[in-house]
């Protein structure tokens, strides 16, 4: 497929958006405006953006805990994402989900709090598309650590046997919390596990947004054509801690972290754009300004949004709420 200037600029813009929103969110944790666990995807942007952008609005997205970038790329406004993490009613899940982001109007189905629950949900979404005869696909992001959970096996196998339109995208950043991949699996490539299910497995440089985009796009086309699922693995690195309660330096060498920062996926695409003469520094600067300006507005929206009304505690449990019974006590 052809890589156009507009596509490259879009990737660049979305990666910047991803990065800067997350940087802002990190600050909000320190300000105690974001509660609970925030898992930053800084460093992963070539995957979160490059693999999400090939999707249509009506495609299904299921991600892991590190899903801010994917949500942004799928089109959820920053105010609704940040607002969700702030527990405000502007949040895309009305402040009830927090890290469990979702936006059903944009096909964002959410995350599984228990890591690995997402594989089988994604298979189900793919099944829905297939049964309805649409050409939608479902995209399921996961970490290399999570590929050791049982539902990976069950979900990928079911998708394979039923030729469901699902793309499983592994964001391999070598660590699962503090645990190195070598401690928990003997093989190097998660994508090689595709062979167990008789489906293609593809390994790409997870910091090369164009490589990611192309590999995923091909898998999406394959899925839309009814040929079934693919596992795509991108090798990348998270710059920060597992979540914002630890900084990720206790179990990783500073040198290792530094080396990966040198491979920054955003600077890489920036260089590509400039070196090939696709865009000028000025153009890029302009994009950055716009992104930042927009983010500031969005953050304000989030910050000005009220917390949910007390009665919200009791709504949305059932579709038919008459079920509810709480009895006399408290």
């Amino acid at each position: 497929m052809e890589i156009t200037k507009s596509l490259m600029l879009e990737l660049y813009e979305k990666m910047l958006l991803n990065r800067i929103v997350e940087e802002e969110m990190a600050k909000l944790v320190i300000e105690k405006k974001i509660f609970g666990a925030l898992h930053l995807g800084i460093g992963h942007e070539a995957l979160s953006v490059g693999a999400t952008l090939p999707m249509r609005k009506d495609d299904y997205l299921v991600f892991s805990h590190r899903g801010v970038g994917h949500s942004l790329t799928k089109g959820i406004p920053p105010s609704q994402i940040v607002g969700e993490f702030m527990g405000r009613s502007i949040g895309c899940s009305k402040g009830k989900g927090g890290v469990h982001l979702s936006d059903y109007s944009r096909g964002v189905l959410g995350i599984s709090g228990s890591q690995g629950g997402n594989f089988v949900i994604a298979a189900g979404a793919g099944l829905r598309a297939k049964m309805k005869g649409t050409d939608q696909v479902a995209m399921c992001f996961f970490g290399e650590g999570t590929s050791n959970r049982g539902p990976f096996h069950e979900g990928v196998n079911m998708a394979a046997v039923w030729k469901l339109p699902v793309i499983f995208v592994c964001e391999n950043d070598t660590y699962s919390f503090s645990t190195h991949q070598k401690q928990v699996m003997l093989i190097d490539n998660v994508a090689d596990r595709a062979a167990s299910y008789g489906i293609p497995g593809v390994v790409v440089d997870g910091n090369d947004v164009l490589a990611v985009y192309q590999a995923v796009n091909q898998a999406v086309e394959r899925a839309r054509a009814g040929e079934g699922p693919t596992i795509i693995e991108g090798k990348t690195y998270r710059w920060c801690g597992h979540h914002e309660f630890e900084d990720g330096t206790k179990y990783r060498d500073k040198a290792e972290i530094e080396a990966w920062k040198q491979k920054c996926p955003i600077i890489r695409v920036e260089k590509q754009l400039i070196n090939y003469g696709t865009a000028t520094k000025k153009e890029l600067k302009q994009i950055e300004e716009q992104v930042k300006e927009n983010i500031q507005k969005e953050l304000e929206l989030a910050n000005n949004s009220p917390v949910p009304k007390p009665e919200e505690l009791f709504t949305d449990v059932y579709a038919n709420p008459e079920v509810f019974q709480r009895g006399i006590s408290l």
Binding site: C92, K94, K96, G97, E154, W162, D316, G327
Partner: protein
């Protein structure tokens, strides 16, 4: 009216709903050509094809999680069959956390319109991992509904209602009931979810039961009748929601309560029912609330021990006399 079995009634419910609504489909092990190990899906594969009657891999997480995904993604109504209710243990996360919480967690958007059907109970020599009645595990869950029909009529009417319901429903069928015959209308009807049925009226004591135990309770009540004790038997049918109105009305009348279930006692359904009654009907109570249930031991394989293990009419009678004496 014609008589058919509980299994046939369920089969009819599935057939009718699948005809009515093409978003309804079935997933489970050996539910296709084989028709399910208790025959509940018989003939559906032939009628609706493999697209809508799906034999799955031996992967319960994928069955239930897949159903949740298909429903959440929009408008599908999967009906899952677990081969045995014991196997809820391998997909608690999918039922309890995904089916039960994904609506709320996501601000109310997706309807998780799934049904999980599971055959439960001891039927002679199944042993600890093939005979369980695990309904109490889900009583504590949020966002779920739970049904436990005791008759062919209710089996059909409740299953149809469960399939049409927009919320996730856990639907337990007792293995020994599949062959039970009863009157079942050939046409479309629903049994309302959340309504108990008074199976026998009485004035001295209220016996609350569901699923197979309803039949044991009626048997007990008939024997008690001969001994001059008038027992009211209520078939709960729906565990979530519980029909508190019917329960409280009966308790107000009799003042004495025995709750009977097959599962073991501690932390069982009887606990919640007893607690809710003693909370809300304290003044009306004339004696302690007894729970007639299995002891807190795994289910023994030996059919002789199994018989000792299981609650039955005789034990219900003992329970009734106990609460009448106190």
């Amino acid at each position: 009216m014609r008589e058919i079995t509980y299994a046939e009634a369920l089969n009819e419910a599935l057939r009718e709903e699948m005809e009515r609504d093409d978003t309804v489909f079935i997933m489970g092990q050996d539910v296709g050509k084989f028709g399910g190990i208790f025959g509940v899906t018989k003939g559906l594969y032939e009628k609706f094809g493999q697209k809508r009657v799906r034999d799955t891999p031996l992967s319960e997480s994928a069955i239930i999680g897949g159903a949740v995904g298909a429903a959440a993604a929009g408008g599908m109504r999967p009906v899952c069959e677990l081969m045995l209710a014991d196997f809820v243990g391998v997909c608690v996360d999918e039922i309890y956390n995904k089916a039960g919480k994904w609506k709320y967690m996501h601000g109310g958007t997706p309807d998780i319109s799934i049904v999980v059907r599971a055959p439960m109970g001891a039927k002679g020599g199944g042993g600890s991992e093939h005979s369980q009645c695990p309904e109490a595990l889900f009583m504590h869950g949020t966002g779920l509904k739970m049904l436990v029909p005791s008759t062919p009529y209710d089996a059909k009417g409740l299953l149809k209602g469960a399939i049409r319901d927009n919320d996730p429903v856990v639907f337990f069928e007792h293995k020994l009931l599949y062959v039970l015959k009863g009157q079942v209308p050939a046409d479309d009807y629903l049994v309302p979810i959340g309504k108990a049925a008074v199976r026998k009226e009485g004035t001295d004591v209220t016996i609350l039961a569901y699923s197979l135990m309803v039949h044991k309770a009626i048997e007990a009540a008939l024997t008690l009748e001969e001994q001059g004790i008038s027992a009211e038997v209520i078939d709960l049918r729906s565990l979530i929601p519980l029909d508190l109105e019917t329960i409280f009305t009966s308790v107000a009348k009799t003042g004495r309560v025995v709750i009977a279930h097959e599962a073991n006692k501690r932390g069982g359904m009887g606990a919640e029912i007893s607690a809710v009654i003693s909370e809300q009907c304290f003044k009306e109570l004339k004696g302690p609330i007894a729970r007639v249930a299995a002891p807190d031991v795994p289910i023994p394989f030996s059919p002789d021990l199994e018989q000792l293990y299981l609650p039955n009419a005789e034990k219900i009678i003992t329970g009734v006399k106990l609460v009448l004496e106190k």
